[in-house]
């Protein structure tokens, strides 16, 4: 049984969606151009000058309306994995390339950040010693590293991965350290009175106790990584969804740009949803 509230919310959602489409349709509907010099609307000569002669076909692609966008999106999604060389690859292929970069860079960040976070969470001295470094490195936009990365790594693929790594590292480090540092003293005392070895203490007390906080950090990190990959690929990519956006802009295919933008949002939502599900599975009630 669906509650009244969620039914209402659903109808409101539909209404908003319809309203959005309507605004979109109205604002992109092509009307014959109006003259700023007071020439009457129906003047055939003026319309011909503006490229609206009755017999000619429209070649100029303006901002696509919903119908044109839907048609071109269907076409693009019809064969999302086609590959006819670097400048003509399917949009699915491009999203896949971005996801692979994120998987590698983000995976490396998790592998480095969680143990590092444990280290500084458990040792206040180390925490205080490395804190200035973290505070300075954390607010740097990942793209600011790009020239340094390009110079030192000299490999576009490696640069993209490095950018993802460096931007998702900090939130995971800080959240892990915070989570580990604020584990309830009682639980640690239980482990101490049971003479639990340090590996068991880390795996079976600290890790489950801090897991919800660690995964919050991982969610933030993944969000930033997905933001950064688009920009990074615009700069260095020969593949990926960011490269696709820029390539289609150069083609003046706004339909494809719009499709890519929506797909970026959708993929980001799915990624965050996956981590949210993981978080729910490790969250405990006290």
């Amino acid at each position: 049984m669906i509650s009244v509230e969620s039914r209402r919310a659903f109808f409101l959602f539909l209404a908003l969606f319809a309203g959005l489409l309507l605004v979109w349709q109205l604002s992109t509907a092509s009307a014959p151009p109006r003259s700023p010099y007071g020439i009457p609307q129906g003047n055939a000569e003026y319309q011909m000058l503006m490229g609206h002669a009755p017999g000619t076909t429209q070649t100029r692609e303006g901002f696509p309306g919903p119908a044109r966008f839907a048609a071109s999106a269907l076409q693009a999604l019809h064969a999302p994995f086609h590959n006819n060389g670097p400048s003509d690859r399917g949009i699915g292929w491009q999203v896949g390339a971005s996801l692979l970069r994120v998987a590698i860079g983000y995976g490396l960040a998790v592998v480095v950040a969680v143990p590092f976070g444990f280290l500084i969470g458990l040792h206040p001295v180390i925490r205080r010693a490395v804190d200035p470094f973290i505070q300075i490195l954390r607010p740097i936009s990942p793209l600011a590293w790009m020239p340094l990365a390009l110079y030192t790594i000299r490999n576009a693929e490696g640069c993209g991965i490095f950018v993802i790594f460096i931007c998702s590292l900090w939130p995971i480090v800080l959240n892990t350290a915070f989570g580990v540092g604020s584990v309830r003293r009682e639980w640690l005392n239980v482990a101490r009175t049971l003479e639990v070895s340090w590996t068991r203490r880390i795996l079976f007390v600290l890790l489950p106790a801090a897991a919800p906080t660690i995964i919050t950090g991982m969610r933030i990190g993944l969000g930033i990584a997905w933001l950064a990959i688009v920009a990074a690929e615009m700069l260095v990519g020969s593949s990926g969804i960011g490269y696709f956006v820029w390539n289609q802009w150069n083609n003046l295919s706004l339909s494809n740009v719009l499709l890519a933008v929506l797909l970026i949002g959708f993929t980001g939502m799915v990624l965050d949803g996956a981590l949210a599900a993981l978080q729910r599975s490790v969250t405990y009630a006290e």
Partner: protein
């Protein structure tokens, strides 16, 4: 250590056997200056004895228990158990914490199994589960084995805590006001269960409480602490009531009211006077 002669009779047997734990000249202070929280605390605990420590808050009761557990270091004095000085926590001392301190992501049986695995690392998974269930049965929790602590009532949580402490088969059980947060009815039930288990297993227990009736029901001997700061161990009183006492009939036993009045008197009046008189 002053001993109340009116209640001294059953202590004679204890004096002969070698004590399990000897606390001598224990002292705790925070910071260099100022008076210690408590000082000059000495007592012994015999094997199989149930000792309750009573005192007002701020007298350092919990610190004494934490020092016995090895979780806190004394500022002076020693605790010797079986000829070894206690300097850190160990499995031979089981602790029931004031807040139940169960791991909230584990079910009741997993919480106990965690302790069992620590004590018997060579056992198989099935044997550990079996042992954990056994101890939960002991405290009457056979219906709630797979529930998380958040799904259990306060009394049930504390029972799991007790089962966990017993499951490591400690030489000595340390309990820090284990029933303080429970309602009177639940508290009574768990007290009787605890009394039965201890009688059956001859468990040595050191327990902190501020409930006089609880101390009379459970303890073989009651230690009284004067008020802090600079608290002292003021009296050690043997419980003259027979060990078969129950909550319902205890107040009919001869000597119950003498003992109860003595303890209440101490807490109300003398606990504040002891320290002042000595200085």
């Amino acid at each position: 250590m002053p001993n109340d002669s009116a209640h001294a009779a059953p202590a004679a047997a204890h004096a002969v056997s070698r004590p399990l734990v000897e606390v001598s000249m224990l002292e705790k202070r925070y910071g260099e200056s100022g008076p210690p929280v408590f000082s000059d605390v000495s007592f012994a605990i015999q094997p199989g004895e149930f000792v309750c420590l009573i005192g007002h808050s701020g007298c350092g009761k919990s610190s004494i228990l934490n020092i016995l557990a090895g979780l806190e270091q004394p500022s002076g004095g020693t605790v010797i158990m079986d000829g070894h000085e206690i300097t850190r926590p160990g499995l031979e001392r089981g602790v029931v914490f004031q807040g139940h301190a169960l791991l909230p992501w584990l079910s009741a049986v997993q919480n106990v199994a965690f302790a069992v695995r620590s004590r018997f690392p060579t056992l198989s998974r099935a044997e550990i589960r079996e042992k954990a269930e056994h101890y939960l049965h002991l405290v009457g929790l056979h219906n709630a084995l797979d529930k998380k602590p958040a799904e259990l009532s306060g009394g049930m949580r504390q029972r799991v805590g007790i089962a966990r402490a017993f499951s490591t088969q400690p030489r000595m059980l340390l309990m820090d006001e284990p029933f303080g947060a429970l309602d009177a009815l639940t508290r009574g039930l768990i007290q009787e269960e605890l009394l039965q288990i201890c009688a059956r297993t001859r468990q040595t227990v050191f327990m902190i409480t501020h409930d006089v009736d609880e101390a009379i029901l459970l303890a073989d001997r009651v230690l009284l602490m004067s008020n802090g700061p600079d608290a002292r161990l003021a009296e050690s009183i043997d419980n003259p009531l027979p060990r078969t006492r129950t909550r319902e009939s205890m107040h009919h036993e001869t000597g119950f009211y003498d003992l109860r009045n003595h303890l209440v008197d101490f807490l109300v009046r003398r606990s504040a006077l002891v320290g002042k008189g000595e200085n």
